[in-house]
């Protein structure tokens, strides 16, 4: 336990060191922490706050403002479906419903086995090949039933 904690602190410090000298370093730091741990552990906030000479509440306030930052780990796969207008015009609502039914979860939820987290996203810039999705950071366009099948197969594997 103590060792894990020391390791954790060392990793956070490493990230803080790497961002030394940046103007406005908080977002890059939070991104790096999330990249390292899969989420932003609440225990990292006091350490970040101390280094940046901010209050803990300030750091927490920033983190909670942005949709991207999570305080808990997500599933092994993250499926983001576009909910915005161009995708709506090509059946995104129906696609979202089908996905939710088949995964048995709603937006921002993770399947019971911890396999998949479903997130809404508002435009991926793939509006001319709608509807669009982001599967673990990989772009997918023209998501029809066949492509949805393949995506779900992939994330449930």
């Amino acid at each position: 336990m103590r060792l894990a904690e020391a390791e954790f602190c060392a990793r956070v410090d490493e990230i803080l060191d790497a961002h030394e000298g940046l103007e406005g370093p908080l977002l890059p730091i939070l991104h790096a922490v999330q990249e390292a741990f899969g989420h932003v552990p609440l225990e990292s906030l006091p350490r970040i706050a101390e280094r940046l000479n901010l209050s803990r509440a300030e750091v927490h306030g920033v983190m909670s403002f942005y949709h991207d930052f999570r305080t808990r780990p997500h599933g092994r796969h993250v499926l983001k479906l576009c909910r915005a207008e161009a995708c709506q015009s090509m059946g995104a609502d129906r696609l979202a419903e089908a996905t939710q039914t088949r995964l048995g979860i709603g937006w921002h939820q993770t399947t019971a086995d911890g396999g998949v987290t479903l997130e809404p996203v508002f435009c991926l810039g793939l509006c001319a090949c709608a509807p669009a999705a982001l599967v673990d950071g990989r772009v997918v366009g023209r998501v029809d039933d066949a492509r949805l099948d393949r995506i779900l197969e992939e994330v449930r594997a």
């Binding site: 940046l22 103007e23 406005g24 370093p25 908080l26 977002l27 890059p28 939070l30 991104h31 940046l52 306030g61 920033v62 403002f65 942005y66 949709h67 991207d68 930052f69 915005a84 207008e85 161009a86 995708c87 709506q88 015009s89 090509m90 996203v121 508002f122 435009c123 991926l124 810039g125 793939l126 509006c127 001319a128 090949c129 709608a130 669009a132 982001l134 950071g137 990989r138 772009v139 997918v140 366009g141 023209r142």
Partner: protein
């Protein structure tokens, strides 16, 4: 043989990486020497993955190609094949355009500096280096360039304010948050011709005395972020960024920053707060960012396309650029044609084409083959246009006159299955989700708006005037355009498609 397979996210989204891999494998199997270039997209997204092969007669296009098509394309020696489209440059979609900002996009290898220069890159910067600050500013003012991020503010005037401000440090901030649904021009230029943006920002630095720049990119664009980071690294390595830009003795350098999924951070003052590491709350203006921007210093905040249009203005001259367009909308605009369309993609053209021409002729109507019902122009805060307004020319003033906005020039087409009440509700929902929370009309109004639309949906006609009043309050009482413009999609839906809000709706269905 030299083959091009785009690396643009839209091409990747429909299988370009798999096609590229299949081409490499097939060439290997056949023992053919292959140079595979991962270019940007030509913007014909309905044809992606669009594969091109270099021939003596120019580049020949094939699309949309799947990995399964690849062996047969080799069998046909990349000549006669059902997917053959002919010479790329002669495709009507490209021939009808005036490609100034996107002149190189899709043609060159995005990260190859030699190709960039061979296609006119850095000519603008060379010219700007030889000019005084006043001359550079004058050139931008004369070009008539207005901000492409939405507000349409004259770029040269903004730069002049920053140039004249006294400070020990000034900044150029590129707004690459591109949150508007239906838009992807920023993404395409950053993925397809990133040095153009770097060149434009550098010229902005020379014009204003700013030595540092930031590109604030949305996190939803992982591919674009990767290309931009690499492009900046390459440019710095070649002395195009750094203490002495192209040996001019003038400094300019830049950094790529990534947002964290907040639409409002596209608003310039919210963006600056975010860049400073704060909550992305909108700041009251004044002070203008031009005087007190990033870290309180004079700052140019410009959209990607505004900045990426600068190099061609300096390369060809302000007059050349200004001579395109209509009225007070000068130059070209990269239209982003999206949604339910037969031909979707990026189409750069002088201002002034009518909305109807864009939707019917360029886009070719809907993908579903059903009649067009509504067209949303300008992102989630833009109005829905009915066919009755299709003669509106694509210009800032004309769109404002039709109770709409050009915005970032995204055009989203809906067929007759669209339910405009649902679209109005979505506009309110989006505003509620993305509100920065600073002012009541937006924060509370959007939630009330959803409830009011729901009442109308349940057949309560008395809620219609409430919705109208609420929109008026949001429009006049909001600090920024998120709360202030959400009434555009809502009111346009209500005004132009009243049947969708009628109490009889449920019964009729």
């Amino acid at each position: 043989m030299r083959i091009y397979v785009p690396r643009d996210a839209a091409a990747k989204a429909v299988g370009a990486d798999a096609v590229a891999a299949a081409i490499e494998a097939e060439a290997g199997r056949r023992g053919l020497p292959l140079t595979l270039v991962r270019n940007g997209s030509r913007g014909m997204v309905w044809l992606e993955p669009l594969v091109e092969i270099q021939t003596e007669a120019g580049r020949m296009a094939f699309g949309p190609v799947t990995p399964e098509d690849v062996p047969a394309l080799f069998d046909a020696d990349w000549k006669r094949h059902p997917l053959a489209l002919g010479p790329t440059e002669e495709l009507p979609w490209l021939m009808m355009q005036t490609r100034l900002t996107f002149a190189r996009c899709g043609i060159t290898d995005p990260l190859c500096l030699e190709e960039y220069e061979a296609h006119g890159g850095f000519e603008g910067l060379h010219r700007a280096i030889g000019m005084s600050r006043a001359e550079i500013l004058q050139e931008v003012i004369e070009s008539g360039l207005r901000g492409r991020g939405g507000a349409g503010f004259p770029t040269g005037i903004k730069w002049k304010t920053v140039s004249e401000a006294q400070a020990d440090q000034k900044y150029i901030v590129c707004n690459a948050d591109e949150g508007d649904s239906g838009t992807f021009a920023d993404r395409m230029i950053m993925e397809g011709d990133p040095f153009t943006l770097i060149e434009g920002m550098t010229i902005a630095g020379l014009a204003t005395g700013a030595t540092r720049g930031y590109v604030y990119m949305r996190s939803e664009y992982p591919d674009a972020v990767e290309v931009m980071i690499e492009a900046v690294r390459i440019a710095r390595g070649h002395g195009l960024l750094g203490p002495s830009v192209m040996g001019s003795g003038r400094a300019f350098d830049m950094e790529i920053r990534v947002g964290a999924g907040a639409y409002v951070c596209g608003e310039e003052t919210s963006l600056l707060n975010s860049l400073e590491g704060k909550r992305g709350v909108v700041r009251a203006k004044p002070p203008l960012p031009a005087l007190e921007g990033f870290l309180g210093k004079p700052t140019v905040v410009n959209n990607v396309i505004s900045l990426a249009s600068i190099p061609v203005i300096f390369q060809k001259g302000a007059a050349y650029y200004r001579d395109f367009g209509l009225g007070r909308s000068r130059g070209t605009i990269p239209l982003q044609i999206a949604g339910n369309v037969k031909r979707g993609g990026l189409f750069e053209i002088a201002f002034g084409m009518s909305l109807g021409q864009i939707v019917d002729d360029i886009a070719g109507g809907t993908a579903s083959g059903r009649p067009v019902k509504a067209v949303q122009v300008g992102g989630p805060l833009g109005a829905y246009f009915p066919r009755a307004l299709f003669d509106t020319p694509f210009c800032y003033e004309e769109f404002a006159g039709a109770e709409g906005l050009v915005g970032h020039a995204g055009i989203v087409v809906f067929d007759d299955t669209a339910d405009m009440l649902k679209q109005a509700r979505f506009a309110m929902e989006f505003c509620a989700i993305e509100s920065c929370g600073k002012c009541t009309p937006c924060r509370i109004g959007a939630v009330r708006g959803m409830e009011t639309v729901d009442r109308i949906a349940r057949g309560d006609a008395a809620a219609i005037p409430l919705l109208t009043d609420l929109c008026a309050t949001m429009k006049s009482g909001s600090l920024c355009a998120l709360g202030g413009f959400t009434p555009y999609p809502v009111m346009s839906a209500l005004t132009h498609f009243p049947d969708d809000f009628a109490p009889m709706k449920e019964a009729a269905e």
